[in-house]
């Protein structure tokens, strides 16, 4: 294994590395989309909450994010299947892409390659398949980001430099966006880094719910079939992912905090 030979899958009779790498793009695309949704939602809610601090709006947002946070991702997945797959079937609830679409891509990054090649039928299909699982993964993280970031924003908004910005004529909204947000984002970034790795862990179950052909789904099959070489390969890949993500997060601190530059 140290020489890069991960063996052969017992059930699928193909090399483990080949199997695992063919599924990795699907999981990565799903996680990145979930992360993007979580950050967008979380930051927006935090900014609104900080802007309306001390009002009923803030309390309402706090209660909502608390409630959203207390429901785990796989339960959100089941709720979405029920809502948008059964009661009001507008989204696809199974798979990664419409099987009738002919995909002859060189990589398995369907969405990314679809954008690059201008195959927007592919992009549209993958996005509509990913939306529900991504949202299920994103909601608890979004609620967590909203709560932490709003708290940090409120602290930063008591700092002298935000007061000075108000004296200079900036509105509360632009004080939040221009002066406070960057300073308040640092602790949130740490949280996002840690939680993103949990989110990738969450893909295992959520992918199963939506029959999404990613690494997580493959991991469950491998465990059920006691396919040890395959399990080993998948776990190793997940571990590598965690390390890379944490490294990226640490490096990104310097973007937000100039005091960390120059070493």
């Amino acid at each position: 294994m140290l020489q890069g030979d991960f063996g052969t899958s017992i059930t699928l009779r193909r090399p483990v590395d080949e199997l695992v790498l063919s599924r990795l793009p699907a999981t990565l695309e799903l996680s990145v989309m979930a992360l993007a949704i979580a950050v967008a939602l979380g930051v927006a809610i935090a900014v609104i909450g900080a802007r309306r601090r001390g009002t009923a709006t803030e309390v309402g947002l706090d209660l909502t994010s608390g409630a959203v946070l207390s429901v785990p991702d796989f339960l959100w997945g089941l709720v979405f299947v029920l809502l948008f797959g059964v009661l009001w079937p507008v989204l696809s609830i199974s798979g990664r892409i419409d099987p009738q679409i002919d995909v002859d891509f060189t990589s398995n990054f369907y969405t990314f390659e679809g954008i690059v090649r201008g195959r927007f039928d592919v992009v549209q299909s993958t996005l509509s398949h990913m939306l529900m699982p991504a949202l299920a993964l994103a909601l608890p993280l979004a609620a967590m980001i909203a709560q932490l970031l709003k708290q940090n924003l409120k602290e930063v908004l008591l700092q002298d430099y935000t007061t000075l910005a108000r004296v200079r004529g900036f509105s509360e909204t632009s004080v939040i966006l221009r002066e406070a947000l960057r300073n308040a984002l640092l602790p949130t970034l740490t949280l996002v880094g840690v939680q993103f790795t949990f989110l990738i862990g969450g893909t295992v179950i959520v992918e199963r719910i939506f029959s999404y052909e990613g690494l997580g789904n493959m991991a469950i099959d491998a465990v059920i079939n006691r396919d040890l070489p395959l399990i080993q390969g998948i776990v190793l890949l997940f571990a590598a992912l965690f390390i890379v993500i944490n490294l990226l997060v640490d490096l990104s601190y310097t973007l937000l905090n100039p005091r960390l530059r120059h070493g």
Binding site: R166, V167, G169, L256, P258
Partner: protein, 298 residues
């Protein structure tokens, strides 16, 4: 510009009262005024409410405080009658703040340059080039070496004195009619204090800006101001020209305050704080006054 014959005062604070939500009064009917180009010192011990007057003028009082009465006029315009939006614009157009602590008054995540030029461009509508030229000229004026490099620096790369210079430049940049200087030398060490004080005075004289100078240091008062308002427990004790405050103080509290100022010339002179009996007497008078005030309100 206003079309009136008499020039309005730069600032009129009339009968201003501020209280905590539980009714505890922090400012009691404070009145003061500043003519254009005048420097008025606002002195008093900690908690006398001197900073609060400046904050009330600039509209940055803590949210839990409420204004119980009075009126603030900035260049003859009633601030209290304005919508928050108009008030913010009016204050930004004609007033600026030199804050107390230069270490926390600059955004640590942003470069110095934009922190000076942003308000000029986005609030005052200047061109980027004009804002940059003005900022560079002012940084040079406040004796900052290599202004171009400082504009590109982050606050943590500058010393406390340099940051206060930057903040002074930023305050004077939009040519305000009024500057509130909220104990601008308190957080600095003594050698820097003198330079900063001289700088504020020079710029004030060059530009003719009126300055409301909040301080607890009678030595600073003598150096910078033409008028003095002495505050105790949110109440004006004395309002007089600076010269008279030192030569012929009318109020016993003012006398005690001047006597309490340590002298570098005469180090053998014993330290004489404001007598406790006087403080108790004044507090008693204010308490009686408050009680009468509450009785009248009922």
């Amino acid at each position: 510009m206003t079309g009136s014959h008499t020039h309005p005062n730069t600032l009129d604070v009339m009968q201003l009262g501020i209280a905590l939500p539980n009714g505890h009064r922090l400012l009691r009917d404070v009145s003061l005024s500043l003519r254009p180009g005048e420097v008025r010192a606002l002195v008093g011990e900690s908690g006398a409410g001197k900073s609060m007057i400046g904050k009330a003028v600039l509209g940055i009082l803590p949210q839990n405080l409420r204004v119980t009465g009075g009126e603030i006029l900035l260049e003859g315009q009633h601030l209290g009658a304005m919508t928050p939006w108009t008030r913010r614009k009016t204050v930004a157009q004609s007033a600026a703040l030199i804050p107390q602590d230069p270490l926390t008054a600059l955004n640590p995540a942003r470069r110095i340059g934009p922190q000076i030029t942003d308000p000029l461009v986005r609030i005052h509508g200047w061109s980027r080039a004009k804002a940059r030229d003005t900022a560079l000229a002012l940084l040079d004026r406040v004796h900052i070496r290599d202004p171009k490099r400082v504009m590109e620096s982050y606050p943590h790369e500058l010393s406390g004195g340099m940051r206060q210079r930057v903040l002074i430049a930023a305050a004077f940049a939009p040519s305000p009619r009024l500057i509130v200087a909220d104990e601008p030398t308190t957080a600095l060490d003594v050698t820097v204090q003198k330079q900063i004080l001289r700088l504020i005075r020079e710029l004030q004289q060059e530009t003719g800006t009126a300055v409301l100078f909040v301080t607890h240091d009678m030595g600073v008062v003598a150096k910078i101001s033409q008028k003095v308002t002495v505050l105790f427990a949110g109440k004006v004790m004395e309002d007089a020209p600076t010269e008279r405050i030192f030569t012929d103080p009318a109020h016993p509290y003012t006398r005690a305050l001047i006597a309490a100022t340590p002298s570098y010339a005469d180090l053998d002179r014993p330290f004489s704080p404001v007598p406790q009996t006087l403080i108790a007497e004044l507090q008693g008078a204010i308490a009686r006054d408050d009680a009468r005030h509450q009785g009248a309100a009922r």
